[in-house]
Amino acid sequence: MPIDKLKKILADFDSSDATEFEYEDADFRVSIKKNGPKTDQEKTDYSDKHILSPLVGTYYDVSPTIQINERVKEGQSLCIIESMKIMNKICAPADLIIRKTYFENGESVEFGSKLFEVDYI
């Protein structure tokens, strides 16, 4: 298959809603997969003013602890979720102000739990 044709397929696949694509001819086979329908997880939904936990684990404060009404820059650490002894940093998806915190140090967190209520700046 010419590389241009493959590029075109990849681009079309990427912009489509399809999650899987397979093509086969006499001497060529391609199989592409997207990581399932989880675009809502990965893209920040600015209308929902909550930061949600991306995994199940134990909540830990960062140091210094995030305060209510604190201004936070995009990429700044908000807390840590420990899961199977791995420390996962949860970072601000954009510049924002913390309005409410939901967990304290050492508490259990589920997938999708609200961690912070925020206002995006």
């Binding site: 399932g36 329908p37 995994l55 199977m84 791995i86 589920e110 999708g112």
Partner: protein
């Protein structure tokens, strides 16, 4: 004895496990995916914990998330149900390493039984009949995968010219890599019946054989209707299969509840197929005819208790199971299932529930029993007739047609999908 179980599964089997735990006074935690918050298991369990997004790879197949949830909720054990990670040796091993009892066989046994080709060789060395190997010049033949399941990795080759294409498509149907050495070739047999030998074995080598099941009504390699005890197969043949099952269980050192599957051809030869190292969907019919709770047996044995069942358990009656499946994903505005004497329903669905597109379409198992097989069939017809479901299409009509067939009633019917 186990005190608190994490259930790493969903649907009717999660409900089924909770029911036994409640009888035994064991606390339960359901690990569920984002879209399963409204399932019956989540309502019934003592606790529920969301472990990930709706797609199975993010939740029910997500080993770290499940183990973290078990640890986080203080569970001492986990039940994997069927499907998903139920026969995954890596999962069992990591659970054990995290100090959590895996309710199923040990990880080294799961590793052995998972490889179908290796198990076939083990059986052959013990003198147990297996389906003869084929070579690619003698078609028709069947391509099978060592690690396939649910029909994946299986292809029938009718003509030599189709071989390469069929091998490719068998590989494509597997999610696991593309290495060619995982495939083996078998001759086509004149398939008549698919027989399951259910057993209970403990960590001390005591083995009990329970009544065999006839699972010869299938569709796309998935069982649809199952019954026990087996009719229409000579008693001596069944006894031989049971003896071979015991040999194999001993050889493997199997230490929990499992099933050995055999195929029988029209000339009444039988062949070992594979070992299922988990609770099976159709365990219900065995429970109905013996009065034994197989989930309880799994839990007791995993807790280290001895198998107290007799070496051979006989059937007190006949039981039939029909698997009711949805064909689309609607909201069930009306959902009414049969009730009454000798009718058992295993389900996780209630009126108003919306069927999720991510998982298996099974919505309920309809099980009936009676002293006489023909009366059980009549009861099943009445039970299927009582099903009223609005909002999604189901396979209820096909089930009814099948059990009404003259050859089903006499016990000679079998169907294995259009490929056979």
């Amino acid at each position: 004895m186990i005190q608190k179980v994490l259930i790493a599964n969903r649907g009717e089997i999660a409900v089924r496990i909770i029911q036994t735990c409640r009888i035994l006074g064991i606390r339960t935690v359901v690990a569920y995916s984002k879209c399963d918050k409204d399932t019956m298991a989540v309502f019934l369990a003592d606790e529920a914990i969301c472990i990930g997004d709706s797609s199975p790879s993010d939740s029910y197949l997500n080993i770290p998330a499940i183990l973290e949830a078990a640890k986080n909720t203080g569970c001492d054990s986990l039940h994997p149900g069927y499907g998903f990670l139920s026969e995954n040796d890596e999962f069992a091993k990591r659970a054990h390493e995290s100090g959590i009892i895996f309710i199923g066989p040990s990880s080294n046994i799961l590793e052995k039984t998972a490889n179908k080709f290796r198990m076939k060789e083990t059986a052959r060395k013990l003198g147990i009949p297996v389906i003869p190997s084929a070579d690619e010049d003698k078609c028709p033949l069947m391509i099978k995968s060592s690690y396939g399941g649910g029909g994946k990795g299986i292809k029938i080759v009718k003509n030599r010219g189709d071989f390469d294409y069929c091998l490719k498509s068998a590989k494509l149907s597997l999610n696991t890599g593309f290495s060619g050495d995982n495939f083996f070739l078998e001759q086509i047999i004149d398939l008549y019946k698919h027989i399951d030998i259910q057993f209970v074995a403990d960590k001390f080598g005591k083995i009990s054989i329970l009544p065999a099941r006839d699972c010869s009504v299938q569709s796309h390699y998935q069982k649809v209707i199952e019954e026990t005890p087996v009719s229409n197969i000579p008693k001596e043949l069944l006894e031989k299969m049971e003896q071979d099952a015991v040999k194999l269980i001993k050889e493997v050192g199997f230490d929990n509840v499992g099933t050995i599957e055999f195929l029988v051809d029209k000339q009444m030869n039988y062949y070992f197929l594979e070992i299922n190292s988990r609770l099976q969907v159709e365990h219900t019919v065995t429970e109905e005819v013996t009065g034994i709770d197989l989930v309880e047996q799994q839990i007791r044995i995993a807790s280290g208790q001895k198998n107290r069942l007799p070496m051979k358990v006989s059937a007190k009656k006949c039981a039939i199971e029909c698997r009711l499946s949805a064909k689309d994903n609607g909201e069930l505005n009306i959902f009414s299932l049969p009730t009454g004497k000798d009718v058992r329903i295993d389900t996780y669905i209630y009126q108003g529930y919306r069927i999720k597109p991510y998982y298996d379409p099974l919505i309920a198992k309809i099980i009936v029993s009676d002293k006489e097989r023909r009366r059980a069939i009549s009861k099943m017809k009445l039970a299927l007739d009582e099903i009223i479901i609005l909002g999604a299409h189901t396979n209820v009509d096909e089930l009814y047609e099948t059990i009404s067939r003259e050859d089903y009633i006499v016990g000679s019917y079998s169907y294995f999908g259009e490929n056979e």
